[in-house]
C-alpha cells in the first residue's frame, strides 16, 4: 500500500510551465519526506485531487472538530471518497492568527514548520483570504496536538463560523510613508478584545475587522470588512516644493498635468507657472492619487486619525456591499482613544448580535433596518459625511424636523465650544 502512488495524469500537467508548481511541492512531500505518515497522507490527497480534476467535482464535507476549550478555529474536512483514498480521509485545516502586519522571523517559520511536520501534512499557506495562516491537512487527533504545541509558544486559533474572524492590517507604519495610524496596534486592540467571540462562535454570522493605514486601503477593508478602519489626516498635506520642481523637471509639465493635476477627483491641485503646486486642502478628499504619483514631494499631514466604515461584505446573501462611513474622523493616539474605538466595536457587535437575523451580516442588517435606525441603536449622530447625497425621495415623514434641526445646531455649538 505505502509504496503505491495514485496516478495523477491531469495534475502532472500542472508541473509544466514557468510558475512554481504546487503539484511538484505535493510530490516532494509524497516522495521525499522522511515521515511515512506525511508521504502517505499526501499520496491520498493527490489521488483525491486527481479524482476531482477528472470528474470536475469536489469531495470534502464538513463536520464538527475543534480543540479543547474552543468552539471554532478549525475547518473540518472529511473525505466523501475516503474508501478510495483512505490516507487523507480526515484532512482538517487549522486556522491560526498571524502576527499583526504578517511579520515573521525565519526562525519562527522554521519552528512552525517543525511542529506542523510532527502533526500535519506539511502543507501550509500564508495566508488564506481572511488572513489566517492555513495549516492544511491533519486528523482530528493531530489538530489538538498541533494546537497544543504552537499555543505554548505564542500562537492562537483564528475564527471560523459565526464569530469574530481573524483580522488583517497592512504593513503600515512599519514600512510605508503614507501610514496615518499605528495599524498593528489598532488591529490588536480590536482583535484581542474579542478573543472570546473569535473562539466561541455565537454571533449571527461572521464579523471582520480590517485596518488600512491610508485610503489606498491595501487590505480591501471597505469592500470586505464589517468594521473597516482607514487611516487619514485632516490638516494640510505636506508639499515639498523643491521635490515638486524636481519631479516636474524629470517628467515634464505635460506629464504632471495629465497624471496629477487633471486626475484629482475634486480639482484640488493647481500647477503654478514656477513649477510649484498649490493644494486646495479643504476640497482635497484624501484620495491618495497625487501622493502615490509624487511620493517624494507630497506627504500626509500631521493631524492624523482614522475613518471608520461599517458593513462591507461579499455577495451572500443580498449582494456585495461596501462599508458606509459611520465615523468620518477620530484620533487614535492615547489609551482613551483606543478605549473609545474598542467600545464602539462592542456597541456595534452587541447591537448586531441582538438585531441581526441568523446568517445576516452587519451590513445586511443595516440595509434592512436603515442607517438611521442603526446609528440610533449604537448612539452615533447622523452626519452628512455618511452620504453621497441627501434623500431624493419625498416619501418620508418629517414631523420631528424642528427638534432634529435644534439637535444639529446644538451639536454644532458644542463642537465649536470644545474646539
Amino acid at each position: 500500500m505505502a509504496s503505491k502512488h495514485y496516478p495523477t495524469p491531469m495534475l502532472d500537467v500542472l508541473e509544466e510551465g514557468p510558475w512554481p508548481s504546487f503539484i511538484s511541492g505535493f510530490k516532494r512531500l509524497r516522495d521525499e519526506h522522511p515521515d511515512e505518515r506525511i508521504r502517505s497522507t499526501v499520496n491520498g490527497l493527490l489521488g483525491q485531487l486527481e479524482h476531482s480534476y477528472e470528474t470536475r467535482m469536489g469531495y470534502w464535507k464538513g463536520g464538527t472538530v475543534s480543540v479543547f476549550g474552543y468552539g471554532g478555529g478549525i475547518i473540518p474536512r472529511f473525505s466523501e471518497v475516503g474508501d478510495a483514498f483512505p490516507e487523507s480521509k480526515e484532512f482538517h485545516t487549522i486556522r491560526v492568527q498571524p502576527p499583526a502586519g504578517n511579520f515573521y522571523t525565519t526562525d519562527m517559520l522554521n519552528q512552525l514548520a517543525d511542529s506542523w511536520e510532527k502533526w500535519g501534512s506539511g502543507l501550509v499557506t500564508f495566508h488564506g483570504q481572511t488572513g489566517n495562516i492555513m495549516f492544511i491537512g491533519t486528523t482530528t487527533e493531530g489538530t489538538q496536538h498541533f494546537f497544543d504545541d504552537i499555543n505554548e509558544y505564542g500562537w492562537d486559533l483564528g475564527g471560523a463560523g459565526p464569530c469574530v474572524r481573524t483580522g488583517m492590517c497592512c504593513v503600515g507604519a512599519a514600512r510605508c510613508e503614507q501610514s496615518c495610524t499605528s495599524e498593528q496596534v489598532v488591529m490588536r486592540h480590536l482583535m484581542n478584545n474579542f478573543t472570546d467571540d473569535v473562539h466561541r462562535p455565537a454571533l449571527p454570522y461572521k464579523f471582520k475587522f480590517k485596518v488600512s493605514g491610508c485610503p489606498n486601503d491595501c487590505v480591501n477593508a471597505i469592500e470586505r470588512a464589517d468594521f473597516a478602519v482607514i487611516g487619514t489626516w485632516r490638516d494640510d498635506m505636506k508639499v515639498d516644493q523643491a521635490e515638486v520642481k524636481n519631479f516636474v523637471e524629470a517628467k515634464g509639465r505635460q506629464y504632471v498635468i495629465d497624471n496629477v493635476i487633471s486626475r484629482c477627483p475634486t480639482n484640488a491641485i493647481a500647477l503654478n507657472d514656477d513649477d510649484t503646486i498649490t493644494v486646495d486642502n479643504h476640497n482635497c478628499v484624501r484620495c491618495m492619487h497625487c501622493l502615490n504619483v509624487m511620493n517624494k514631494a507630497l506627504h500626509v499631514g500631521d493631524d492624523k486619525g482614522v475613518t471608520i466604515l461599517i458593513g462591507g461584505k461579499r455577495t451572500l446573501k443580498i449582494g456585495d456591499l461596501m462599508g458606509t462611513v459611520v465615523v468620518p474622523f477620530m484620533k487614535l493616539e492615547d489609551d482613551d482613544d483606543y478605549e473609545k474605538i474598542v467600545e464602539m466595536a462592542e456597541e456595534i457587535i452587541d447591537f448586531w448580535a441582538e438585531n441581526g437575523l441568523e446568517h445576516e451580516r452587519c451590513g445586511e442588517m443595516i440595509e434592512r433596518i436603515g442607517l438611521v435606525n442603526f446609528l440610533e441603536g449604537i448612539g452615533i449622530d447622523v452626519d452628512p459625511h455618511m452620504l453621497n447625497n441627501p434623500r431624493q425621495s419625498s416619501y418620508v415623514r418629517t414631523d420631528g424636523w424642528d427638534e432634529e434641526a435644534e439637535n444639529w445646531f446644538a451639536r454644532k455649538r458644542e463642537e465649536k465650544a470644545s474646539a
Binding site: 500537467v13 500542472l14 510551465g17 510558475w19 512554481p20 508548481s21 504546487f22 511541492g25 505535493f26 516532494r28 512531500l29 519526506h33 485531487l49 480534476y53 467535482m57 469536489g58 479543547f68 474536512r77 484532512f91 492568527q97 498571524p98 499583526a100 511579520f103 515573521y104 522571523t105 525565519t106 517559520l109 511536520e117 506539511g122 501550509v124 500564508f126 495566508h127 492544511i136 491537512g137 499555543n151 483580522g167 488583517m168 507604519a173 510613508e177 501610514s179 482583535m191 478573543t195 473562539h199 491595501c218 480591501n220 469592500e223 482607514i230 497624471n259 484620495c287 491618495m288 492619487h289 502615490n292 504619483v293 517624494k296 461579499r314 451572500l316 446573501k317 449582494g319 461596501m322 441568523e358
Partner: protein, 357 residues
Amino acid sequence: MAAEMRQPIESGCPDGFQYMHPVMLRNYGQWKYHEHPRPGVLLHVAHSGDKIWTVKAGTTRILDVFALRKLTEIGDKLGDGFVRFTIRSNIEYMVADEAKVEPMIAALEEAGFIVGGTANSVSTLSHTQGWLHCDIPGTDASGVVKAMMDELIDDFRNCDMPNRVHITTSCCQINCGGQGDIAINVQHTKPPKINHDLVGNACERPSVVARCPVAAIRPAMVNGKPSLEVDERKCICCGACYPPCPPMQINDHEFTQLAVWVGGNHSNARGKPTFQKLVAAGVPNNPPRWPEATAIVKRILQCYKESAKDWERINDWIERIGWPRFFEMTNLPFTKYHVDNWRGSRSSLNASTHIRF
C-alpha cells in the same frame, strides 16, 4: 478525561513588533518616501536616512515544508532573517544592506521562485481553497492560479502595466474570493439537484429556506419524506442553499462554469472604491489548465495595457473609454445577462444622452 486536557492560552493575535526587522522597528512611523529600483524590489527611506530594501517573490502559495524551508534558508543565508507575506501571498524579504539584494534575487530565481509583483505588475492571483480543500467548490483554485500565472508571469516580473492589476479567483459564486481588477469566479447555470432522501435528516429546513436570496425554496413532502422543493423558474442558481444543505447539490461537471468580472478596485485613489462588473460568462470549467478563461483574461489585459493611460486601473480605464468600446476592443459578446436586475440596479442604467460615437 477533560481534566487531562490542556487548557488553551487565549493569546489572540500575536504582536508583530517582535518579528520586525530592527531598521523597521527603529523607524516605525518615520518613513519618508520609497523608490522602485527594479521590478520586485522596493527601497524605503526614513526621515533618519535609514534605508530598507524589500525583495518580493511569488510562490506556489500552498507551500510544502520543503519550499517553506527553502524560503527561510534564503532569508537566513542571504537576508537578515526577517520576512512578511503580502495579502496576495507573496513573500517579502527585508534587508538593510543593498549589497544583499542581487544575491537574494539570484537565489530565489535559482530555487524556482519568481521575483516581481511590485508596483504596476500583475500580482499573484489571490484564490480560495477549491477542490483541494473546500466543501462546496465548483472548481479548483490553486490549479487555476498556477495555469494562469504560467501565462502572466512576464507581467508579474516586468511591472510595466499602466497601474497595478489584482486578479482574484473564487471557487463558489457567493462567498469567499475578493474583489479584483479581474475576477474569475464560478457561475452555476442550473438549479440544485436535490437528493430528497437525505434532506430531512441532513438539513435544517427553515434555515435553508431563509438562505435563498430569491425565496425559491419551500418545504415539501417528497416520496412521503420531509424535503425541500425549488421553484426552478425563480432559482438564480447561486448555490447559497448548498452549504447549509449538501443534498442540494449545485455543482455539476458540465453546468458549473466560470464567469469573468472586471473593474473591482479597493483603493480610494481618484474615484471611490468600485465593485467588479460581469463581462463574460459561459466560460468552461476546464481543468487542468482552464485555457478558455486564461485566454479571456489575457485579452482583457492586453487591451488594458495598450489603451489605458498611466495610473489608470482597469475600472478607471473603462470609465474613460466606456463599456461599448470595452466590449468592442476585447471582442467579448454583450448580452442581456449583462443588464443588472438585482436591487439597486437602476443606477446602472444610462439615464442620459452621454453616448460615445
